[in-house]
Amino acid sequence: MSTVTAQIMPKPSKPWAASPLDRAKTGGIFLAAVLASFAVVASTPLKGKLAYILVFFAAYIMIDFASTFIKVGRQGAVDAVFRAVVTMAIAIAVTPIISILITVWLRGHKGLHIGLFTTDMRSTAYTDPINQGGLLHAIIGTFLLVFFAMIISVPIGILTAIYLTEIRGKFTRPISFLVQAMSGVPSIVAGLFIYAAILLPLTKKLNGIEGSLALAILMIPTVARMSEEVLKLIPSDLREAGVALGGTQWRSVAMVVVPAARSGLITAVILGIARVAGETAPLLLLTGGSGSKNYNMFKDSMGSLPNYIWQCFATGTPESITRAWAGILVLLVIVVVLFAAARTLGNRKVGKK
């Protein structure tokens, strides 16, 4: 037996964490605010859901302020109010997004069936029951349109970003400004531009590639700006090292800078795709819609998910509206998957394969 005093192994604890009493107090304030909102709505002319929410927010802030004031004084109370206001701002910002997701799921999932992905609308009317016909033509159309838009816009967007960050020519500032301004161009304007520049004078017909061109116009600024931000993060040390080894600037950019920024550039492209996947207005103008599969970008109008959704809503029967919601759900899932992919790729550390 050793005479050394036994070491007491301490348990890990978090002395700074909220005690059960604190948590009970927070819950109490929350409850009091809810009660206050009911009381005020019942006893005053304020009515409706909005009134409940507004009174709840106001009451919560006041009670929180008062209780913190008593406990720790003015400064702590102001801090508590600030925290409450920020939390509420986030709640307000997130509510519409969650509400959209829930609504789309609730209304859309009824229309889901495997036939959506295997059949088209060639011999089905929008007013037919949902279990007939499908989205295949629209999914194919959307993928083709977006794919060609990507082929056009990705080289232009990334090369623009390279001009802005690597070449830094005389026009860097005006072009940077222009790219920013272009990211705010309404999609209908891009559509009308292609309509006036290509469809009216040249082709005089609807086809897929015109829609892709309009989507590319919308995609270029997104890809260029995101890529610019990504390239700016690459330390200038790496560029200098490439040049100091006897490489030309072009080889240094192509071999060192772009590979180092690879995952960020992929994110930029995916965000660009997500930006245009749901665009409707230019496609209505330039590509039209179709109930059957069309693989030819240069001939005839082509179906797409946004066009399908728009057509179904315009038809307006209960069956067609169910179709529309199913279409929205599919489109939303595609966009969400793309964003998730962008995040995963963007979060990957540079240098890992």
């Binding site: 040390d237 200098e240 490439g242 100091a244 240098g351």
Partner: protein
Amino acid sequence: MELTAQAGSLSAITSAREVKEPGNRALGVGLEARGVHAWFGDKHVLSGVSLDFWPGTVTALIGPSGCGKSTFIRTLNRMHEFIPGAAMAGDVLLNGEDIYAPGVDVTKIRLKVGMVFQKPNPFPSMTIAENVLAGLKLAQLKSENKDDLLEECLERAGLWSEVKDRLNTHGGALSGGQQQRLCIARSLAVRPQVLLMDEPCSALDPGSTLRIEETISHLTSSVTIIIVTHNMQQAARVSDYTAFFLSDGGPGQMIEVGSTNEIFSRPKDKRTENYVTGRFG
């Protein structure tokens, strides 16, 4: 006096070194700077530096921060012009030829005058082997036996034994000192005549610093080295010649140059003495 005692310790280091006579002709004529000035925009940062670098020697550039040492070495391989707003005057001669003459291929200059940076900067998208051989690809050079070159460069940089089993892993997993030696190996692969080192050890711990210094002393048989350092012990340990730079608020100037032993034991200029004895800076 206490201060001279300190200077004495530095000169003790330097006098223990064998004095290298200039003119190892096998390595070429050398690098000469003639009246080099440098500007960033309107700011005159370096004034009239003339300095010869003898082949096969190590020259240390010392002096307080902001005295233009780094700017000066960047004029020696035309990296200075990489910074927007940069301007320069004067001549830099490599093997007797002006590297700023019209029609000179700047990439060829940088092949002959390589550079190691302050912070280790291996290329993150490449493996260790790819990093070492990156210069060949960047400069589109041919090499008959890449495996031999890889081993030779890593050996010369003192890194081979540590990484030979993981040549195909990423350089990011190495320690800071190993990364810096990887960067040295990378710059050796294109066979430069001159290697510029801009405070190569300032981001490293003392152990790694020592390894880099050993690497430097092994390299001098084949490469001329110019090293910027804030560490005077380092200058005393590794260099044959030392140049002292100083800025009195205006553009930086070279105050004094001489053999390292002279600079640390009997500097001619009072300001140099103050600096090397640690009285200021």
